[in-house]
């Protein structure tokens, strides 16, 4: 037996984006917590793209913030360029995306961990979990580091990212490594397998970094940030910072030819890579093979920070050998003389089969073992952080003997993310997309606080002060919506002039102000001129009023869909049902249901292999059970 170095309530294994949120949430909820990283200088690293947010991901960051998480605040502090994507589309898909100073972000997050009450930060590789087993039920007892030191704890949260048996592949060379040249964690997987956890092998990759001094920007298109920066965190009203620029260029016919001529040297085609890579972020060679008729692909050149010349080539991820990479880069306009600082690589790693988890992110068969982030098969910093905060909260709630926090699909992208991972599992790294959220019109980035602050507060991560501010904002929105729905606008000269100015059909008799807001060419803002009684309101409140009034019809349609959805969600399925005994279920459904033990009929309906016909059978079964119990 090794040296017992300490006792904690909760151990977090890994200090990436999931681990940081998990550790902070647990510690803030009063749990004595320790978080381990193989290298403390890699805390909250961004080994891939130097940005946070984007479509669907921006929504995740704001949800994390509304629950009391850290990512949004840290991003705001280190934003070097910010943009709302999809600004020309509907508000449901506006997505905030910021270029981040990667190094400074890491330092901010590391310092936040260091300053946190109840939280210890330690450099160590965890190689083993300690547990007891009683009547086939395993319970977590502690962790062991690579030096043999033991830490006792009541719960463990696994947030190992891409470190487990990490293997980097560049062309025909492969070596064991974590991301960004950090040591991999080679031993923990074996312990997990011994505990009966099913693992899978996943793959992801990152493009090369080049020195900006070797780039000819005159051949590229400049990309500016938005004039007014929208912060991620609801605690920040506004954000002032000097913004950097990004650049746009494209692959050429020559690039494509180089890739085609060398495709046989790709490890993917040579069989060196066994992990399954994501479909949505294919390497450039994938794109060229699969979409052969596309003549060119966009490439964005993005700075990695203020204190560095390193530039990231977005869209150019590859695992071809270094000599081919150099040729490819040099075939792109503006990059003819580019000097590579870090080569592109693919990385393969162990992940768990996420269907082994409950919606709380605790393992179904192992008491007090939680897991979050890329180890669960997701991809992306924001997806990791979203799971991290939920795992941290639920580990804490579990130790307090409370019910877990489960965000459902109609409450947040976090809910969609976790439900998808846990219910359907994934065979490739899972990236959040707005199209995965069936109720995305309700899950907007602008109303994440309206959806989740209440929950964050009742869990205990939102301060009283912030909560009070939130309640005031909520009241202001309700009052103002009420007012514009009642307020009459008459067809006087001022009104007619305004309508004419915006090419809006003139009104013949009085109409409600809300009716005018609904017109596509008008908005709450525009109508201020003819609305003198308007109260002083913050821009966030105005935005809410505008969206809620303007899209009222659609919001109502979507709410009706949610109501349908909740019906099945409310039908709980007991863990004790033996599905092999239910007549009428198809064989595949029986097996899947018995393996998964879904928590509700709604969750059951989303398991692949369970058909709507099977759900009707289950409904008939549940109704029958109800009657039996009532003595029929």
């Amino acid at each position: 037996m090794g040296f017992i170095a300490g006792e904690y309530d909760i151990c977090v294994v890994g200090a990436g984006h999931a681990g940081c949120e998990a550790a902070l949430a647990a510690a803030r909820l009063g749990m004595s917590t320790v978080v381990f990283a193989i290298n403390l200088d890699s805390i909250a690293n961004m080994p891939c793209n130097p940005n946070i947010g984007g479509t669907a991901k921006g929504q995740l960051v704001r949800e994390i913030d509304a629950l009391g998480g850290e990512m949004g605040k840290a991003a705001d502090k280190n934003t070097i360029q910010s943009k709302i994507l999809n600004a020309s589309k509907g508000p449901a898909v506006y997505s905030l995306r910021a270029q981040i100073d990667r190094r400074r972000y890491q330092m901010t997050m590391k310092h936040t961990l260091e300053m946190q009450e109840n939280l210890d930060v330690k450099q160590a590789e965890i190689v083993k979990l300690l547990y007891t087993e009683n009547d086939g039920i395993k319970s977590i007892r502690g962790v062991v580091t690579h030096t043999g030191t033991e830490y006792r704890c009541k719960a463990v949260i696994l947030t190992t990212g891409t470190y487990l048996k990490g293997k980097i592949i560049i062309g025909d060379t492969a070596f064991s490594s974590g991301p960004d040249g950090i040591f991999p964690a080679d031993r923990l997987s074996d312990c997990l397998e011994k505990m009966g956890i099913k693992l899978l092998r996943l793959k992801t990759g990152t493009p090369a970094r080049i020195n900006s001094r070797s780039i000819d920007f005159s051949k590229m298109q400049i990309q500016y940030g938005d004039d007014n920066i929208t912060p991620f965190s609801f605690e920040n009203q506004s954000l002032e910072t000097e913004q950097v620029v990004c650049w746009l260029t494209r692959t050429t016919e020559k690039t494509h030819n180089i890739i085609k001529e060398n495709i046989h040297r790709s490890p993917l085609y040579g069989g060196l890579i066994e992990g399954i890579g994501p479909r949505y972020c294919p390497s450039i060679e994938d794109k060229i093979v699969r979409f052969a008729d596309k003549e060119s692909h966009q490439l964005f050149i993005e700075p990695m920070g203020r204190d560095t010349e390193e530039m990231y080539i977005q869209g150019f991820s590859t695992s071809l050998p270094e000599d081919v990479q150099a040729d490819m880069i040099h075939s792109v306009p503006g990059l003819e003389n580019a000097r590579v600082m870090r080569s592109a690589y693919a990385i393969e790693y162990d992940a768990i089969d996420s269907t082994q988890l409950k919606l709380s992110l605790e393992f179904k068969n192992i008491d007090n073992l939680f897991s979050a982030g890329q180890i669960n098969g997701s991809s992306g910093y924001e997806e990791a952080a979203g799971q991290g905060i939920i795992a941290g909260i639920n580990a804490a709630l579990k130790l307090m003997g409370k019910e877990p926090l489960i965000i459902d699909r109609s409450q947040g992208y976090i809910g969609v993310l976790i439900d998808d991972l846990v219910t359907k599992g994934t065979k490739e790294p899972y990236r959040m997309m707005t199209s995965r959220a069936e109720y995305r019109l309700l899950l907007r980035q602008d109303n994440a606080d309206m959806r989740l602050t209440e929950i964050g507060h009742s869990v205990g991560l939102i301060s009283e002060e912030r909560y009070k501010k939130f309640l005031i904002k909520k009241q202001q929105i309700e009052d103002e919506i009420d007012r514009v729905c009642k307020k009459n606008i008459s067809p006087d000269e001022k009104t007619m002039n305004l309508l004419e100015k915006y090419k809006s059909t003139p009104i013949k008799s009085g109409v409600k102000l809300s009716e005018l807001i609904k017109r596509p060419e008008l908005s709450y803002e525009i109508l201020e001129e003819i609305d003198p009684e308007r109260p002083q309101l913050s821009s966030a409140v105005k935005e809410q009023v505008n969206i809620c009034v303007k899209y009222e019809g659609y919001i109502k349609r979507q709410e009706a869909q949610v109501e349908q959805f909740k019906k099945l969600e409310k039908r709980a399925l007991s863990k004790n049902i033996d599905y092999s005994e239910i007549k009428g279920l198809c064989l595949e459904a029986r097996q899947k249901l018995n393996a998964m033990k879904p928590e509700s009929l709604g969750q059951a309906s989303r398991i692949s292999g369970v058909s709507p016909a099977d759900i009707s059978v289950l409904l008939i079964y549940l109704n029958g059970k109800g009657r039996e119990q009532n003595g029929f």
Partner: protein, 465 residues
């Protein structure tokens, strides 16, 4: 509670038809039940699956022989219900069938609920929802054509059609989603234009499906047809001709028919619920007046009106009747050509033209005396309702009310989407409508759509990080 563990039995041929009756037993104990009453060379238990055997049905208590029958044994799972199934072919006499059935009940089966065999087939995964509904239609179908429509549905024709439209909707949605999730993606320019044209196409496609429901309903319940005209024009003669026997009284005295005479008629598999009415004229006779009033009322509720005009009469056209039938499907039947002056038929046609009658009105010239006109009117009816191509199996006909309602809801959702697109709503909002539209259609065939959508996005578009 109705348990699916029970063994069930019922007479499965329509009552009062045909020379034989079929009694069907399904469930775990079907074989045991049959052995309790059937006496053949071998016991039912020892019969091979999917074989047939001659034998007798005996009342074991009295020893009385009830009937001589053929018994078919089909073992699970290759049966309609995927359970053990026994079929007993007995005599058509309903009393005999009932005796046999009650013996079966005494031997461990219970009466089947209406549609319960089909429900079991569905629950046991043998058929999908639309197929189950088709079976119901099949059982209830009265004519060959309605049976055909049900068979088409059973063969998955409707599922195929619906799945095809869902596919199209998913395609539009996938296009929209790509523009949203990959804003840097550069080939998104005309997504809105494409969405608009395609949604409009789907909208009109669904319209024809909805229209076909009328056809489907007519096939199932029959075409409500009323024969009207002046007294003595030959209305009852026409009814008799179509019925193939003397259903109504025919005399040369005007005013013979005073009350409505009804007859169901099968024209090459199309069912007509034909009503012969009292000749319409000014009359002092109270009974006749009521008959005339009824005739006029019947016009309103009919799917088809046959207006019989006698060419032998002076000034034979009745404007009031024309007024009533103007906007309906109608056939103007110019009868008694044999008695008419030369060119009279063309003459009347010319006069009728002056009344600007709708497209749905056809004219047939006839002389029932000379056996002319019956075939022509049959053809006219077929053309009118089924455009003559019903026998070609490619025409989709919606027969279930559930389906047509869901299709209408889906169409409404699509029209919401088109409206907001034209009204300047952002493109991505449309996903709500398209999802609704697809969801409604998905309910018809029983499928969920979200997974398909994700696959679609990946398989059809080039997207990058």
């Amino acid at each position: 509670m109705i348990s699916s563990k029970d063994t069930i039995a019922a007479i499965s041929t329509a009552q009062g038809t045909g020379g034989i009756g079929i009694i069907r037993i399904s469930g775990k104990n079907a074989v045991g039940t049959a052995d309790g009453i059937f006496h053949g060379k071998t016991s039912v238990k020892d019969m091979d699956s999917h074989t047939i055997q001659y034998g007798k049905i005996k009342d074991t208590k009295t020893g009385e022989i009830i009937d001589e029958v053929m018994l078919t044994k089909m073992s699970a799972p290759a049966t309609y219900t995927r359970e053990d199934v026994i079929e007993i072919n007995c005599h058509g006499n309903i009393l005999i069938q009932r005796r046999i059935l009650s013996l079966i009940y005494e031997n461990g089966a219970r009466p089947a609920e209406p549609g319960e065999f089909t429900k079991r087939a569905f629950l046991n995964g043998r058929i999908d929802l639309t197929q189950a509904e088709a079976v119901m239609d099949l059982i209830n179908s009265k004519t060959e054509k309605s049976r055909e429509a049900a068979v088409l549905q059973l063969s998955g024709k409707i599922s195929g059609y619906i799945n095809n439209i869902i596919e199209k909707l998913l395609n539009i949605m996938a296009r929209i989603e790509v523009t949203v999730d990959y804003p840097e993606h550069d080939d998104e320019a005309d997504t809105a234009v494409i969405a608009e044209t395609e949604l409009k196409e789907i909208y009109s496609d669904l319209s024809s499906a909805i229209e076909s429901y009328d056809t489907g309903r007519l096939l199932k319940t029959g075409i409500q047809t009323t024969i009207v005209g002046k007294p003595n024009s030959g209305k009852s003669t026409l009814l008799n001709e179509l019925a193939g026997y003397d259903r109504a009284i025919v005399t040369d005295i005007p005013g013979t028919t005073r009350d409505i005479v009804e007859e169901n008629i099968n024209i090459d598999g199309i069912l007509l619920n034909l009503k012969d009415t009292a000749g319409i004229r000014r009359s002092e006779d109270v009974v006749e007046q009521i008959g005339i009033k009824l005739a006029m009322e019947n016009i309103k509720t009919s799917d088809l009106v046959i207006y019989v005009i006698s060419l032998s009469e002076e000034d034979p056209v009745d404007i009031h009747i024309l007024e009533e039938i103007k906007d309906k499907k109608a056939i103007i039947f110019l009868n008694k050509e044999d008695l008419a002056k030369d060119g009279e038929a063309d003459n009347i046609k010319e006069i009728l033209k002056g009344y600007s009658l709708g497209e749905n009105i056809k004219i047939v010239v006839s002389s029932l005396k000379r056996e002319k006109g019956a075939e022509e009117i049959k053809k006219a009816i077929k053309d009118m309702f089924f455009s003559g191509n019903l026998s070609q199996n490619d025409q989709l006909i919606i027969t279930a009310e559930r389906h047509v309602n869901l299709i209408k809801q889906s169409q409404n959702a699509i029209s919401d989407g088109i409206d907001s697109l034209l009204g300047g709503m952002p493109l991505d909002m449309l996903s709500v409508d398209i999802r609704n539209a697809a969801e409604y259609l998905g309910e018809i065939v029983g499928m969920s759509i979200s997974e398909n959508l994700i696959d679609k996005i990946f398989s059809s578009f080039c997207i990058g990080k």
